[in-house]
Structures are given as C-alpha cells and as structure tokens.
C-alpha cells in the first residue's frame, strides 16, 4: 500500500522537476532581483524598494502602463463584439461556412514577427494599402503616418494584434454557441420574440461562461503584449508605443538594468494577478462540479 501512495509522485517527478527549474523557481528569483541593483554580471546589490520608488516617477513606465490599458480596452471592446458577430454569422450552417471560417482563422497560424512585417506594409505611409485606399476615395486627410505618429501608433499596433485575436475570440464563442440549447432559441421563436430580443434574453445569457473566459483571456493577453510592439516599433517613436513587457525587456537586456527590469516585471505580474486568480477560480469551480 505504501508503494501505491508514492506512485503519483513518481509519475509527476520529471514534469514537475522541469517545471520547477524553468518556471516556478524563476518567478521567485525575479522577486528577489527586483529588490536589487544588478547589471547581470557583477555582484547584486540589495537596494530595498528603490526600484519601485523609481518606477513611480518614471514617465516612460507610466506611458507604457497607459498603453497597456489602451491595449486592454481595445482588446475587450473590439475583439469581444466582433468575435461574437463573426461567430454568430458563421455558425449558420450554409454550404461553405467551413471555408469562410478557415480563412478567418488563418492569422492564428502566423508568428507575430510575420504579422508585424505584413502590417507594417499594410500601414506604410506612401504605398501602404490603407493610405492608398483613403486617398483613392478622396479622404486624403485620413491617410496618416500610422507607425510614426506618437498619437496613433499604439492604436495601429492594436489593430495588427486584433487581426489574430478576433479569430481566437470567435472560436471561444463558437464553442459557447454549441451549448446554447436549440430548444431555448426555438421556444423564443415560437413565442414570437423578435430576433434582437432573442439575442439579448436567450443567446447572450447562455453565452455567459464563454464571455467570462473571453474577457479574462483578452485582459491577460493585453497585459503581456510584447512581440507585435517589439517587432513593429520597438516601443518607438520615443517610447510612445511602449508597453510594460517591452519596457522591461529594454531595461533588462539593452540597458543591463536587471534589477529595474525585474521590478517592472513584478508590477506587470501584480496587475495581471487579479485576472489570473479570476481565471483560476473558474477552473476550480469546474473542478468542484466534477
């Protein structure tokens, strides 16, 4: 019997061991590094909360945080409704609906490096398709330098990221729609409820679980956005499109301020934590039901 008790741990030994070395232990280490001044080579110097105090007065960090909030709002306000509309539209089983879906999903198979490159051509000021389009319909004033104007660059990056995010949200809703009982929907039709009412009172409440997951995942993703920013603008011009993840990377690996970089990561982690816990509670609730 004693052997039996050990068995699960034997199975878990290898995966848990690797996971501890590369994921769990580093999390704790980052906390420790955040209280130090360290260039990554010489000895670490303990400085207490100095890094965090400096963060408060660091304008570039403030800017990065603000941009993360823009990402969050943009992701939630755009990918949720659009993902839902795409899902509801393409959930109708007309011939060819699978092909339409595949084509919309396509960006999910692409690396952010490829997406970034493609979108920098889409948004290119002189020959890019967006500006060419605006000029051709006589809206010259809407043709903007999308990636070099500090005021709009972050929105351009969010647009590029949404190209991949919306299909993902659409998949979450398509899965949710499978759980909407056909009877409920049909009952609403028999009752004579109009289509919009049916949507608000029958379909939307049934999609609640999918909605919660979609919103949480969108927020978590928006708070850790990195690749698109790094590939397309490196956070520029003059940090105007910087996000926390990007600023952390620049501080730690370009300026060799590992301690300061770690403190940015810790703040980023702290902000995300609430949403991670929300997600975990969802998982736990599911556990209890089983």
């Amino acid at each position: 019997m004693k052997r039996n008790k050990l068995t699960p741990y034997l199975f878990l030994a290898a995966p848990l061991c690797m996971y501890s070395i590369w994921v769990i232990y580093p999390i704790f280490q980052t906390f420790i590094v955040s209280f130090t001044k360290w260039d990554g080579m010489t000895k670490m110097k303990f400085v207490g909360l100095e890094n965090f105090q400096r963060l408060i007065t660091d304008n570039y960090f403030g800017l990065s945080l603000l941009n993360n909030i823009k990402w969050m709002v943009g992701f939630v306000l755009l990918s949720i409704p659009l993902g839902l509309i795409f899902a509801m539209l393409m959930d109708q089983k007309f011939p060819g609906h699978k092909i339409f879906k595949s084509l919309v999903y396509l960006p999910m198979a692409l690396s952010f490096v490829v997406i970034g490159q493609i979108w920098s051509w889409v948004l290119e000021p002189t020959g890019g398709i967006v500006n060419t389009f605006f000029r051709s319909i006589g809206l010259e004033q809407l043709a903007k330098p999308w990636l070099s104007d500090p005021k709009i660059v972050t929105y351009s990056l969010i647009a590029a990221a949404l190209w991949r995010q919306i299909p993902y949200v659409m998949i979450l809703f398509l899965a949710g729609l499978k759980n909407v009982s056909r009877e409920l929907v049909e009952a609403a039709i028999v009752d004579g409820a109009k289509a919009t009412q049916r949507f608000w009172y029958v379909i939307l409440p049934a999609l609640r679980p999918a909605m919660v997951i979609a919103i949480t995942v969108n927020i978590i993703d928006s708070l850790r956005a990195f690749d698109i920013v790094f590939v397309m603008t490196r956070g520029g011009p003059f940090y105007s499109s910087s996000v926390m993840a990007n600023y952390m990377y620049v501080q730690a690996f370009h300026n060799y301020r590992m301690g300061y970089g770690a403190s940015i990561a810790v703040v980023q982690f702290g902000i995300t934590l609430g949403f991670i816990i929300m997600y975990l509670l969802n998982v736990l609730k599911k556990e209890e039901r089983e």
């Binding site: 070395i21 595949s102 999910m108 692409l110 490829v114 190209w163 990195f226 590939v231 990377y249």
Partner: protein, 276 residues
C-alpha cells in the same frame, strides 16, 4: 423566403469579412513575387506584380540563410513537442487517477504558470542558461520550451483523462496491472484525440516563438526562423520583396499544418480555453 434572405446576408457578410481579413496576406504575397525595379518604381504593396519572379525566395532561402533557420526551427519544434507531450501525459495520469494531498495544488500551479507574463521568467531563465552553459544552444531552447509548455499540456491532458470512465482503470488495477502498464497500454491509446490536438497547437506555438529564441540564442548559426526573419529585415532593409519572401517561407509550415489539421487545432483551443 426568409431562408433565402438569410442566405444572402450570410454570403455577403462572410465574403466581405474574409476579403478584409485576407488583404494583409495578399499584400505580402504580391510583394514577395515582385522584382526590385517594380518595388522602387511604384512603391505600392497592394498591386498585382507586373512581372512575377521567384528569385526573392531563392535569395531569402540561400543568401538570407532561411534554409539554416528552417532546419534549426524544425529540430527545436519537433523535439520539444514530442518530449513535452510525453512528460505531460505522465503528470496528467497522476493528476487524473490518483487522489493525493497535493493534487489540486499541483494542478493549480500548472494552470497558473501558463497565464503569467513571460517577463517574470526572462531574467532568471537567461541567467540560468548562461551559468549552466545552455546559452546559445538549441538544446537550451528545447529544454525551456518543454518545461514551459508542460503546464498547459498537463492541464489539458488531465482534463481529457478524467472523461475516461473510472471503471477501466479500476478493472486494470484489480487485474494487478502495474501503474505504468495501465498508463501505456490502457490510457494512452485512448488519449489519441487529445494528443493530436495538443501536437498541432504546440507545433504552431513553438514554431512561431520569438521571445525565447531572442533571449536564449545569439549566434547566426543557431537562429530560428522568426529571429532569422528579423535578421533578414536588418540586412535587406529596402528589399521588401526579399523580406516578404522570407516572411512567407517562415509562415508556410505552420499555415500548412494548420490548414490540414485545423479540426484538432480548434478542438485544442476550445478545450484548453487559454493560449500560450
């Protein structure tokens, strides 16, 4: 009549969405087949090439060393996916079938790990690889991918395993079958759908990884396609056609895998409900 108008609405809107969705890809596609003269003369990215050329792909593949980066990425991706799936299935087996003290805690730790911002890991993982001599080796990148993806894969497979009827497991136990035999002979064969879904997801994720190759690799000979593509952008700054060809080359493998195994990819995303 109602059905017809619904069909019209469906096809019109769907076509509109798909066209808008594919414009960026068309831009890359056309650019990749254009000659340098055309790029400089017209400076537009959306028009159909006047003369089609495949030279850009040759340039990116040979001079741009995409050939080499391809091989590196292929190696990293295949090994990482295979080992991750094996180790995760072991962990998932323990978490699905045995009741023990730390079960829920371990499960939560695995789920939480895939949600944290990657920036929490960057500095220690980089340091660790420098200290252990794993820095700038494909082996180091592979080890990291395996370790990091174990969280998601264990969670995913465990969720799949708990749907297998307990009676199967109990019957085998009464027969006196050893735990590992139960795992390999009874449970694993039933796990094929989960393994298929995970392989496709993990393949695309690891193939498309950028950040970890950026952090853990340095020399040109070790680069993966995503890093190679950014190197290409630096080297062929104004040769947009060559860069576009490189981008298409970097995309061709995950896109093909995705299109062929789309069913599993979608199932994986739906069941996993979280993205790496």
């Amino acid at each position: 009549m109602k059905k017809i108008s619904r069909a019209i609405l469906f096809y019109t809107l769907s076509t509109l969405i798909v066209v808008i969705w594919l414009i960026p890809l068309m831009v890359a596609f056309f650019t990749a087949f254009k000659t340098m003269d055309e790029i400089f003369m017209l400076r537009n990215f959306w028009s159909v090439p006047k003369t089609w050329t495949t030279d850009n792909f040759k340039t990116a593949w040979v001079e741009g060393k995409m050939q080499r980066y391809f091989l590196n990425t292929f190696l990293v991706t295949c090994i990482s996916v295979a080992v991750t799936l094996f180790l995760s299935s072991l962990g998932a087996f323990a978490l699905a079938w045995y009741k023990f003290k730390l079960r829920t805690t371990i499960l939560i730790i695995f789920v939480a790990g895939m949600l944290i911002p990657f920036q929490m890991l960057l500095i220690p993982v980089y340091r660790f690889s420098v200290v252990t001599g794993l820095y700038d080796s494909l082996f180091g990148v592979i080890l990291f991918h395996i370790a990091f993806q174990i969280g998601f894969c264990t969670f995913f497979m465990r969720n799949f395993m708990v749907t297998i009827p307990t009676s199967l497991f109990e019957a085998a136990k009464i027969d006196g079958a050893k735990a590992f035999t139960i795992y390999s002979k009874i449970i694993m064969p039933l796990l094929k759908p989960a393994v298929a879904a995970l392989s496709i997801l993990e393949f695309t994720w690891i193939w498309n990884d950028y950040l970890w190759s950026l952090i853990l690799l340095q020399s040109d000979a070790k680069k993966t396609v995503t890093i190679g593509l950014t190197a290409l952008q630096g080297q062929w700054i104004s040769s947009w056609n060559v860069i576009a060809a490189g981008a298409l080359l970097a995309a061709i493998v995950p896109v093909t895998v995705f299109l062929i195994f789309q069913k599993y990819f979608i199932e994986g995303l739906t069941l996993g409900s979280v993205k790496g």
